[in-house]
Symmetry: D2
């Protein structure tokens, strides 16, 4: 797990607490009989280094936020600014607005100076004070601009596409011999980044979805044969649906992308739902937006501005199929549909996420000041790490259907229906 | 304002506090020069009477909840049961399930006995423990059933249609010489019942919509030219939209049924929205579901099971019109659409509504025990009253566009666009 | 109810909506047999007047906040500034910091300019951006300062003492022939101002106290013979204790200043508490801070900086007496004591209070611009009014032990113990 | 790390998912240069075993909750009952009431049968439906009782003392040849159990303390030289104070038991506080209840019913010292004191803790059914484990003042004052 460094560290770190650059954290912590101890990743432990690469008073840093909203982005921005300013003495910090488009001087506004006063209270609001957008930027023009503005460090807060873009910026800068530290902070409310056990915003989302489920349960429970169908975030991974199911204990069926569930037939989901209604007269169904995409497999794939495949709308599909099926089966029912995504991703971070954001941000600052580049901050086993961006492309994090987490979902719902094999 | 009574009160009220049956509350409290004092309604003041009509140990009471969910229904049920039980000594209290259909023994389940234990904690949950449904019941069969079960008092918790149904039940019972007290508690989250200054659930809804607006504002504010469009409850009246606008202070345009706003043209809403975006780069729009129905006037009207006209979807319409207009005008924007109704009406009552519910319910009990019938509990000038159900049909409560409330909306939004005249 | 005016209104109101200066609102709305209609207060209806006294571009306004914190103060400040600025065109608005001491140039800081940008988000925070303090100011020096700064209008946000101080400022200014409009906005979380049916902050307090009661109930309910004792605000009036009792439905004993309850003896509070514990094994007691002061009557009275009498600590007294009594009676118990005042008064206003604040503030602006002075904004029967400050001194608002509100408390608690007669 | 087992597993586990009994999780995951890999704990991985010791239809289980309240206890109770009932088919589940005293038939009530219906909604409330108490039980009498009631499994939810008591129960049962599985679920809101990275309730507490800090900040910020002093839980460890400091970002001084801070002198805390006030005019101080006990070292130590040393009241002490110091220094200030512990520990679990509780509980069931005894459920590196109770006595978890967590506190507060060395 080699981490690229901009060069030899040349300055003393003004902080008094340091992490040994040689410290590593294991990836695998479970030892099973017959295991060979060789096949393990070892990640650099994040934290302040004794010696740093950049001279704080001369260092110029930029921050950019990309992609969809996620609770905690402002906490990250704020902690980056405060750590740079108060702990290292960096004074020139700039916010590029509107995502990567802000790096392009042809379309972007002038970056705004980021001071402790500016960020004082921003963590109490959701969203991002720097605005966000989707989509890439012309890498050459962006690097031209970063060089022209003498930016030494760029913090990229965003998802997969954003981090890949950050890697390209770093490579282009290196090609030109410009010492640019690009350090990413992974932002995905779906919690699906490999080598990051918990992304910020995820737990706030689970908390908010739990409230929605509470409402959904009330709606389903207040009419005879009430069905509440809740679509939540989770393009490739069902962590939000799974977490909220276990947290709320009011969900009866949890549908996630990792589970190729069958709708029809004696053992299909629809039949199981009918049995539940006959038995209990109400049901709560939660579906991740990426669930059930196998029902649409023949359609041509489209992509959004960030390069993510456009998903087919499983919510609308399930709603139509459930209503039609129950009507055919002579079970008059009332279906209430919930699509709360914008109400979830736009809230401020809860306490746990606020803490996570603080550590992600401060460790990003430590890494960048030490001259690390082309990395993002990871998190494993309660330890923050340096992860090469390239590594992300090799691995995706998904729910393991054979894991304790999923078995917790099954225990909580009691669900039982067939899956494709 | 004659209130129908089942007959002479024959028993002493076990409560020590009484309201004089002759006490009245004025409807008009504003005196303007030139007013003549004659044109005033005078409503009976609600409260325990010194003498009551029903003998508590022999009295049998029923409760039914109808129509859509509304915060506080369980509070009302609970307070009816506790007041009957503890303050009057009534022991036979029954809950008819699933709305008016529960009065029909052919389709309804057996009514469930309501005890203090059963209702102990129900006020902490949203929804209704008695379930609800829409639609009328066969009046004769319902009265047959009420007589067969020897129900003396029926509490009807619901909206206009429910109260009209309650009046029919009472008339049918009277026709047969059966002494049935029907007392309604007005339930409409829209707050649009005449002679009721504030219906329970309304303020909880305003609180919840304010949270949604906070999210909507964050979404709009975090991208360039972000537009957040929020559709809220309010079929005939814009009280929720207006209240949430003033409470949140983050709304820029408030569209209500009472305002026949113009979309197109130099002074239309779309043009005003464009100016706002050019000026501030984001906008929050809130629309009551009954707003803008004049855009659909040529369509044939349809009705739902409760007999309410089906509204055309102003949310979808505005969304399409806004996106098309801004695109034509060369102002690339991002529109986020919010339709949070089920998340709002299903929450528990807040403190203010919990208090309101308690008073509505206990006054309903006092009225019924005193033998009042064909009434609903009203609320004027901080006083609870008896309102003949018939009176409701003559008058609807709507937002007055020339009132302090609406001027508060205009001050809060600064909105300025043309309306049809 | 004569309202003092600074003189004839000389300018057109830029607002298009007006309230007739002759409109009045009745104080008494209940008509009982034998009433004579003469004994009624008639209050001026607040709102924008067609003609105003001050010329907006030349008008200079000041705002001061005094006394204890209360949810909504920032909402009031913000709405005053925005209404003056956007609706009237007043540009010179100043905030005097740290309460009345800010009017004294010898100790106060320079007043700060209040702009729409400054107040943009302040309503989302509790407290007051202008800071607050207790105690009076030297009236002559304050008026010297107001004249020197050419302040035309002073908005005083505070309780009784503050409003009395405002009246003195106006009288001193008038004595010198200086046209100073002093308009008060009543601020008391206790809700005990006569002629104001609901002060802002009160309902937020009830909501927060209800949460505390929920915790108190959990504590009491989780041990055998658990007693939770909650002391809440309410120096002279028990409105907060009463409201939270009815809202939460988990209180068993509510003690308020208006109720001279007896502690000892067979019918005293302690005996009733013991019976409750024997019967149910837990109890929740709420006491307003002004309750039970008759137990301390022999002590010499002391006063705080605002001139309010210092109360004896009923919380500590009850705690000691309850623990001693139950111990003597051989009923081992666990008492948990809650004193949450600072956690309640420091939160932001809820939606209902935010709306109230907005109307109080905007009506204060209308009154001041029209040249009214020596008044505060009142609220009766859902109508905002002008109330001469002098009138406040004649009347206090307290809980009526023979009113529906208190009977709601008794119904909710089932409490039954002796009071002094 | 040998785990005691009641004997050979004799039955097939009805669950389809199993964890290999030989699987282990490493305790140390950080590899530093020069480490030798030998000095590591290896813990059994918790989870369902292929073969189990108890025959579900014949198994009788008991649950007891001890010590102070903590968010999530009801979640744990509920998940134990549901997992036993639905996943294993155990039907005889009993709740012993009022803590360990409930095991003593001389004082305890009859244990109550625990069914899925009984626990249905209990997780939505704070506290414990089984009640709690402090203090030990006569081990012999308790084991007599367990044997008489043919209890096979006892789940002990509580802190250190409770777990030690559980170990004694198991040893006494073994001495008599009775096969009793005692499985503990660690409950400490302070998060200070070794081998448990996160105890349930801790994060909910951090969330609630963050709200309190928000109020404290408002109070301090709304007067000149306002000081808010907040005492929070944390007898031996400052995790709650530290977590809430980082989460809220509004704390200026964080005092924890691990930090032997100096009050007086040029570099002491009081001097640093004074500088802060001169600079910013307000300050927020948070102190764990176990902080600063070195100031009281000469006093004789006392103990509570659970055997914990009684702490001296650092809140009262700091309050008095701060007020005296600032007064002497001629800096008039206003100190607001917050002691919110009962308001924090009595709330329901937030989503994250609800999930934790679910896993702790279900893993306890798996362990017990497999015949493990004398253990508690641990949690390391996102993996649940079996920890011998005896191991707990050797090690306490405290805040490491040289760790990233504490450095996060220092970054968040900027605090700088002397400590004893």
């Amino acid at each position: 797990m080699e981490i690229t460094s901009l060069g030899e560290a040349r300055f003393d770190n003004p902080m008094s607490f340091h992490v040994d650059d040689a410290a590593r954290v294991r990836y695998n912590v479970i030892v099973e009989p017959g295991d060979t101890p060789t096949d393990d990743f070892l990640f650099e432990v994040a934290g302040p280094r004794r010696r740093i690469f950049f001279d704080p008073p001369k260092t110029r840093a930029g921050i950019v936020t990309c992609g969809g909203l996620c609770p905690g982005v402002n906490n990250v921005i704020r902690a980056i600014v405060l750590e740079l300013y108060h702990r290292y003495g960096v004074r020139d910090i700039f916010g590029f607005r509107n995502g990567y488009s802000g790096l392009d001087p042809r379309v972007g506004e002038k970056p705004i100076p980021m001071t402790p006063e500016f960020v004082e209270d921003i963590h109490k609001d959701g969203g991002t004070v720097l605005n966000t957008s989707r989509g890439p930027v012309d890498i050459r023009i962006a690097v031209d601009n970063l060089i022209a503005r003498r930016i030494d460090i760029l913090f990229t807060i965003g998802g997969d596409g954003t981090q890949r873009g950050g890697a390209k910026l770093f490579h282009e800068a290196r090609r030109r011999g410009y010492k640019l530290a690009v350090v990413g902070i992974p932002k995905t409310i779906d919690n699906d980044v490999a080598f990051v056990s918990r992304t910020f915003g995820y737990l706030t989302a689970v908390e908010e979805v739990s409230r929605v489920i509470n409402c959904a349960h009330t709606e389903a429970h207040s009419v005879r044969n009430g069905v509440a169908l809740v679509k939540v975030m989770g393009r490739n991974a069902g962590f939000i649906a799974a977490g909220a199911t276990i947290a709320s204990q009011d969900v009866n069926f949890t549908l996630v992308p990792e589970l190729p569930f069958v709708l029809d037939g004696e053992n299909g989901f629809l039949s199981a739902l009918k049995l539940r209604l006959i038995d209990r007269e109400h049901a709560v169904v939660i579906a991740a937006e990426g669930a059930g995409q196998h029902f649409f497999s023949t359609e041509a794939q489209r992509f959004d501005a960030s390069g993510n495949p456009k998903l087919n709308d499983i919510g609308a599909y399930l709603r139509q199929r459930i209503e039609a099926y129950l009507s055919e089966e002579g079970l008059p029912s009332t279906l209430r549909y919930f699509d709360p995504s914008y109400l979830i991703r736009s809230v401020p971070a809860n306490a746990e996420d606020a803490i996570l954001c603080n550590f992600f941000a401060r460790n990003a600052v430590h890494a960048a000041m030490a001259g690390k580049t082309g990395i993002l901050i990871g998190h494993q086993h309660d330890t923050f790490t340096h992860v090469p961006i390239e590594l992300l492309e090799q691995r995706k994090k998904q729910l393991d259907i054979d894991s304790p987490l999923w078995h917790g979902v099954v225990s909580s719902t009691g669900q039982n229906f067939a899956c494709e094999t």
